[in-house]
C-alpha cells in the first residue's frame, strides 16, 4: 500500500498528543487567573459617580471622620449612606456655586436622591455586619482599602470568600486598636503579629470560620 501520511505527521501527532495535556493544564490556569483578575472582581477600578465625590479630599485633606457621613456604622449591620442634607451642611457655605456640585444642589432642591453607584457589595446570601467588625478593631481601610487616597472610590479587595476566610482565620494580622479603626492612614507596626494576638485577647476576638457566621 502507499503511505497515507506525510513523514511530518509523526512529529505533529506526537506533539499534539502529549502537548494536549499541557495545553489543558494551561487552559485551566488561564481560566483561574482570569476569574481572580480585576476584570472579574472589578477591583481597583474607580467607579463613576453622579457627583465625582472624592474621599481623598474630604477625608485626607479636610480630615472628616468616616462616621460623619456613615452614621450607623457602629450600631448597625448597615454603615449608612449620607443624605444630601449632610453634604449641604458644608456646601451651603463653601463651594456654593461650584458647577461640579450642581447635582447635589438639585437633589437638595427637588428631593430627588443622588443615585450613587455601589462600590463594595456582597451577594444576598452573605450577611455582613459593620458594627461588630468595627467593635473588634477591624479598620475601615482593612476592607475598603486606602479610602483616604481615593479621588474616586474603588473596590479595594477581591471580595472573594477566600479573602474573607483568610482574615477570619488569622484576625491577628489585621486587627488594630479601636481608637485607630477610623484612621485611614493607619500602618500596622512591625510587631503586628504578637500585637495582634494581644488585641485578640483584649477585644475577645475569636477566629470564626463557621459557615453560619456569614451564611444564614
Amino acid at each position: 500500500m502507499a503511505q497515507i501520511f506525510h513523514p511530518s505527521t509523526n512529529t505533529i501527532s506526537r506533539v499534539s498528543l502529549f502537548g494536549a495535556l499541557f495545553f489543558l493544564a494551561f487552559l485551566a490556569w488561564v481560566v483561574g487567573a482570569v476569574y481572580r483578575s480585576p476584570y472579574v472582581t472589578r477591583q481597583y477600578a474607580p467607579i463613576e459617580q453622579p457627583v465625582p465625590f472624592s474621599h481623598k479630599h474630604h477625608v485626607t485633606d479636610d480630615g472628616i471622620d468616616c462616621r460623619y457621613c456613615h452614621t450607623s456604622v457602629e450600631t448597625s449591620s448597615f454603615a449608612g449612606i449620607p443624605p444630601t442634607k449632610t453634604c449641604m451642611n458644608c456646601h451651603s457655605i463653601i463651594w456654593r456655586d461650584a458647577p461640579i456640585l450642581q447635582p447635589v444642589r438639585d437633589s437638595y432642591r427637588t428631593g430627588e436622591p443622588i443615585k450613587w453607584e455601589r462600590v463594595d457589595f456582597v451577594p444576598e446570601f452573605v450577611f455582613f455586619n459593620h458594627s461588630i467588625h468595627i467593635h473588634k478593631g477591624v479598620g475601615c481601610t482593612t476592607c475598603h482599602g486606602p479610602v483616604g487616597d481615593m479621588p474616586l472610590t474603588w473596590q479595594a479587595t477581591s471580595m472573594h470568600m477566600r479573602w474573607c476566610v483568610d482574615c477570619h482565620r488569622q484576625p491577628a494580622e489585621q486587627l488594630r486598636p479601636r481608637s485607630e479603626v477610623f484612621n485611614v492612614n493607619w500602618q500596622p507596626p512591625p510587631n503586628q503579629a504578637e500585637w495582634g494576638e494581644q488585641l485578640m485577647k483584649d477585644y475577645n476576638v475569636k477566629s470564626l470560620i463557621d459557615c453560619y457566621t456569614c451564611h444564614r
Binding site: 497515507i4 501520511f5 509523526n10 483561574g32 477581591s158 472573594h160 470568600m161 477566600r162 476566610v165
Partner: protein, 462 residues
C-alpha cells in the same frame, strides 16, 4: 491457572478459518458489506428514544427535579436506580476482558471487544444520572477538587465524592483498556479500508501500528497490566457504589454485605446484557462461528453462579435483619416482603433467583431462545432490585409520621427509556464503525488451532 479446555468442548472458533478469513470476515462488517436494513431500523428507533432523553433532560433543567416523583422521604428515585443499574451492566465488559484475560480464558476473545464497548456506553449512561439528579446541576463542579476562590473542597467522607472518583476512573480505565486492545485492529482496518477518508481516520487512530515484535511485546505487557489494574478496579467501583447505601443509616441500606453482593449483582446483570446483545448480533451478522455456543454456554454458567451469589445476598439480608433484633431492620424486611412495594420484591425473587435456575440444564444453556429470554428477565430483575433497595428502604424508615409513597412520573420513565435509547444508539454506531470482535486475537486463536493440529503442546495466549 486453568489450562486449555478439554477437546470435548465445542471450539471457540468455527472450523476452516485462516488468518485471512477471520480478518476479512470481521473487518468486512464495517468496511465492505453494505449496512443491513435491520441496522437502520434498529438504530433509528434507538435514536428516537435518545431524542426523548434529550427532551426529558431539557425539561428537567428548565423546571427542576420536581418533575420526577421524588419527595421527602423518598428523595432518591429512578435517577439513582438507573445509575446503579447501568453501572452494574458496565461491569461485565471490563470483567470479561480483564479478569478472564488474567485467568487465561481464551473463550473471552470473541466477546470481549463489544463487551468492553458495552461497558463504555453503559458507564456513559450511568454517568449521566448523578449529574441529572442534582437539584442545581449547574454547580456540579463543587464536587470536584480544584483551587477555588472559596477555600472550599469536596467533603471527602461522602460516598458521593467517592463515586465521582470511582466512576470517572472506571470510565477512563475502561476506555484505555478498550482502546489499547483496539490499536492493532485499527491497523488492520487502516490496511483494509478502501476509501481515503476512512484510511486516514483509522490510520490516525492506529497511531502507525505495524505489528513490530517489540511493539507487540510492550503492548502485551501494558494490556496485561491494565487487566491487572482493571480487575480490582471493577470490584472497587461497585463496592463504592454500594457504599452510597451502606454508609447511610437507613434500614435496608446500612449493611456490610452490600459490597460483595453488589459486585456479584453487577457481574450478573452485566453478563445478562452481554447475552441480550450477543445473541441477536451473532444471528444477524452470521458470527455463529466466532461467537460459538461455547461462549453462550459459559456466559449462562456465569449467570447461574452469580445469580446464586445474589440470591445468597437476599437471603442474608433477611436473615441479618431478623437476627439483629433491630426493630427498624426487622420492619424493613417485613415491609419489603409484605408492604406496599411487595410486588417488586417478589418479581425480583422470580427474575433474579428463580429464572437463572434453568441453566442447571445443558439443554437450556444450549437453547438460544431461553438464553435470550432469561437474559432479558435478569436485566429487568436487576433494575427492580435496585428499585427495591432505593425506594423500598426509603419510603418507610424511622419515624412513621414521615412515611410516604413514591410514584414515578412520565418524566421518570422518559429518562429511563431515553437512557436505554442512548445506550443502544452508541452500541449500533460502534458495530457500524469498529470491528466488534478483536481481529488480532482471533488470528491468534487460529494460530493456536493450527499449532494444535500440528500436535504441538498447547500453550496459553502469549
Amino acid at each position: 491457572m486453568p489450562s486449555m479446555p478439554p477437546p470435548a468442548e465445542e471450539p471457540v472458533v468455527g472450523p476452516g478459518y485462516t488468518y485471512a478469513s477471520v480478518t476479512e470476515k470481521i473487518s468486512a462488517i464495517v468496511l465492505t458489506r453494505r449496512t443491513p436494513r435491520f441496522w437502520w431500523a434498529a438504530f433509528s428507533t434507538a435514536f428516537l428514544f435518545f431524542l426523548l432523553l434529550q427532551v426529558a433532560i431539557g425539561y428537567l433543567f428548565y423546571k427542576g427535579v420536581g418533575i420526577w416523583g421524588i419527595n421527602i422521604p423518598v428523595a432518591w428515585g429512578f435517577a439513582i436506580v438507573n445509575f446503579v443499574w447501568w453501572i452494574g451492566i458496565g461491569h461485565a465488559g471490563t470483567l470479561i476482558s480483564a479478569f478472564l484475560l488474567l485467568m487465561r480464558q481464551e473463550w473471552r476473545t470473541s466477546i470481549n471487544r463489544f463487551a468492553e464497548a458495552m461497558t463504555l456506553f453503559a458507564v456513559a449512561c450511568a454517568g449521566l444520572f448523578p449529574l441529572l439528579h442534582l437539584g442545581r446541576p449547574w454547580v456540579f463542579y463543587f464536587l470536584l477538587p480544584y483551587p477555588d476562590t472559596m477555600r472550599l473542597w469536596p467533603q471527602w467522607r461522602s460516598p458521593l465524592v467517592w463515586d465521582v472518583f470511582a466512576v470517572s476512573t472506571y470510565a477512563t480505565v475502561s476506555f484505555l483498556f478498550w482502546y489499547v486492545g483496539l490499536i492493532p485492529d485499527l491497523g488492520s482496518m487502516r490496511d483494509r479500508a478502501r476509501n481515503r477518508f476512512a484510511r486516514a481516520l483509522y490510520g490516525m487512530l492506529a497511531m502507525g501500528w505495524r505489528g513490530a515484535a517489540r511493539h507487540w511485546h510492550r503492548h502485551q505487557i501494558a494490556y496485561l497490566l491494565l487487566a491487572g489494574l482493571a480487575t480490582p478496579l471493577v470490584v472497587s467501583v461497585h463496592s463504592v457504589v454500594s457504599f452510597d447505601f451502606t454508609i447511610a443509616i437507613v434500614p435496608g441500606w446500612h449493611s456490610t454485605i452490600f459490597p460483595p453482593y453488589f459486585v456479584a449483582g453487577a457481574i450478573f446483570s452485566g453478563f445478562a446484557m452481554v447475552l441480550s446483545l450477543a445473541i441477536p448480533i451473532r444471528k444477524i451478522y452470521h458470527l455463529e462461528d466466532l461467537i460459538t455456543m461455547r461462549h453462550l454456554d459459559n456466559s449462562a454458567k456465569i449467570l447461574l453462579a452469580t445469580g446464586l451469589m445474589v440470591s445468597y445476598g437476599y437471603l442474608m439480608e433477611i436473615f441479618t435483619s431478623w437476627y439483629s433484633g433491630n426493630t427498624f431492620e426487622q420492619y424493613m424486611s417485613h415491609n419489603r416482603m409484605f408492604g406496599p412495594y411487595a410486588p417488586v420484591f417478589w418479581s425480583v425473587i422470580f427474575c433474579n433467583v428463580l429464572s437463572p435456575q434453568v441453566f442447571w440444564f445443558k439443554k437450556m444453556r444450549q437453547n438460544i431462545a431461553v438464553l435470550f429470554i432469561v437474559s432479558i428477565i435478569v436485566n429487568l430483575g436487576m433494575w427492580l432490585e435496585r428499585f427495591m433497595i432505593v425506594v423500598g428502604s426509603l419510603h418507610r424508615d424511622f419515624l412513621p409520621s414521615a412515611w410516604h409513597m413514591y410514584y414515578p412520573t412520565f418524566w421518570d420513565l422518559a429518562t429511563l427509556f431515553g437512557s436505554v435509547g442512548l445506550f443502544v444508539t452508541l452500541m449500533f454506531l460502534f458495530i457500524r464503525v469498529l470491528p466488534m470482535i478483536s481481529i488480532s486475537e482471533m488470528r491468534e486463536l487460529v494460530g493456536e488451532k493450527e499449532e494444535e493440529a500440528a500436535e504441538t503442546p498447547a500453550g496459553g495466549v502469549s
